[in-house]
Amino acid sequence: MAKVTLLEAVNMALHHEMAADENVVCLGEDIGTNGGVFRATVGLKDKFGFKRVMDTPLAEGLIGGLTVGMASQGLRPVAEFQFQGFIFPAMEQIICQAARMRSRTRGRITLPLVYRAPFGGFIHAPEHHSESVEALFAHIPGLRVVIPSSPARAYGLLLAAIRSNDPVMFFEPKRIYRTVKHEVQDNGQALPLDVAFILRQGADITLVSWGASVNETLVAAEQLAEQGISAEVIDLATIKPLDIDTILKSVRKTGRLCIVHEAAKSFGVGAEIAAQVAEKALWDLKAPIARVTGYDVTMPYYQNEKYYQIHPEDILLEVKNVMEHSA
């Protein structure tokens, strides 16, 4: 079995699904000859031709609306935005059109489309290249928001996203695009959407994270184990709809919850998880819910980004705090 990076896994899934279903088309800025700015679409144009692999004009609003039209005709467009920070011009199309079409037409028109975008910080990128705004999209009814945290999940979840008959925002954590390699079988097997993955069993505290931060969370869990604290680690994977059952089951077992996310703290996905756990499992908690997150500031330019970034030690300190302040 081949060992591939998360980026290669994305490429593999695109190749697989374009070959399997002729309705799948790819489009975006620089995705053809150049294979995308990160090379996620390398080889697709050579293999499937420019009719199915389209370099669009430089216009995200267009990409948003174009895909709505294409998907209404039964195509399965997979559009790439170069960075999550450049989706904003397409927000009107995504929020006002793509997300609502099925509901407005009572199912007459459905939009099987995927919007892919690299996201997240800490690669020394210029401004507007480090956004983590998954909560913006998760807030919108009608969208699925999916974030893989490893090559295998990138492959399986992207296949699922393309096969889904609903619009999916597929955010790829670019910080780990090339840093981890896993064996991934190119067997066309999708992973389930709307399901969180338990990466590590534990008894004392539940750690919930997604995307690149899953890696620091796992490191922290390892170090906590050495100190005698057993942490259960959950990779949320699908942000919306939220698999609260998996989290509740875990919290009922451990009695403690710490949510780790890179995005700004307030009004984020962590807040939603905390609210639902408070609603449904407050009496199972032995300690207040904790969050280790980014700050409520614009992601700083890279000279100071390491201070914004979550390090395993930040998780460790917070978890110890939770343990010490448990009932």
């Binding site: 620089d30 150049n34 430089l58 216009a59 011009p89 990128a125 409520d296 700083p300 330019y301 100071n304």
Partner: protein
Amino acid sequence: MTFTSKSTVTQVRYLDDEGNVVQPLPAWADDLDLLINFYKNMVLVRTYDKKAIALQRTGQMGTYPSHLGAEAVGIGVGMSMAVEDVYVPYYRDMPTMLMRGATMVHNMLYWGGSEQGSYFNRPDGQLSEDFPICVPIATQCTHATGVAAAFKLRGEKRVAVTSIGDGGTSKGDFLEALNCAGAWQLPCVFVINNNQWAISVPRTIQCGAPTLAQKAVGAGIPGVQVDGNDIIAVFDVMKKALERARTGKGTTLVEAVSYRLSDHTTADDATRYRPAEEVNDAWKREPIKRLRQYLHNQGVWDETKELAWQSDCNQQVQAAVEQYLATTQEPPEAMFDYHYESLGEPLASQRQQLINKAMRMAGGNHG
């Protein structure tokens, strides 16, 4: 009823590729000192560009967008503007920004990952009203329209100038800004730096029209195409457009045709999508050689002056690099200090958490 709109776009050009005069020069071009100044500034920003790329390659600066090949556009635009005008740039506009008071140090700080790069003065020492570098494509155009609307509202004889790449003209923001500026007859000049490529996408598959200047037709304003490698032409076209705006006659769209001689940025490799012959051919038309030849022909520039100026440029760039490298990094908590006029809870407590974290990080691992 029939409405006819005549739209002929002719490229304005005074010097050919070899620096020969192809039509009588405008009167202002008799001022050879001014032309020498154009030349010196173009050489300076090219020297800087080379150094900036070297800094990125050696890990002393982040991703950097080269302006190699666009020197005549940037310097021409920058030098044509009045100090009190407002410039609304995009990321490849270092040359114009330099002429407007942002120094090489500011540019390095910006691409070196510090917000301090966007705090700069005008050449007369006043705090600049120019906008910072804009990364999201085309959004700056709407700001220029807004700035110009404010000028018009207050009856000020100032002009807003913005620039954008050829790819950026595909965006709604550009067309929306142009449309409004045309409808309201605003004192505004839009400059398209048409360097033929938007990363890997060539101009021809970006837009079906033969020129980008003709996008002006739909906005009801003049659209002018200029040879962007001929700084005399760029300056002349800009002077007229600025004059037009300043005297209340409204907006102009200027398409400056040049060529991106570099990769898109230091993160790009243009050989993957662009034929070498095309680039070699473009080098024959580059702006610096062209003006140098003209100045030689006028007998006001020679090898000795050239060598002296090159060494002067190297020194200026080196001094700027040293100043950049010696600039104290802003403290981490600066990331909190400029979002709101005053810092309330809970930001204040987050700020304190960050300071604690930074101290912890500085002190090593006290897990």
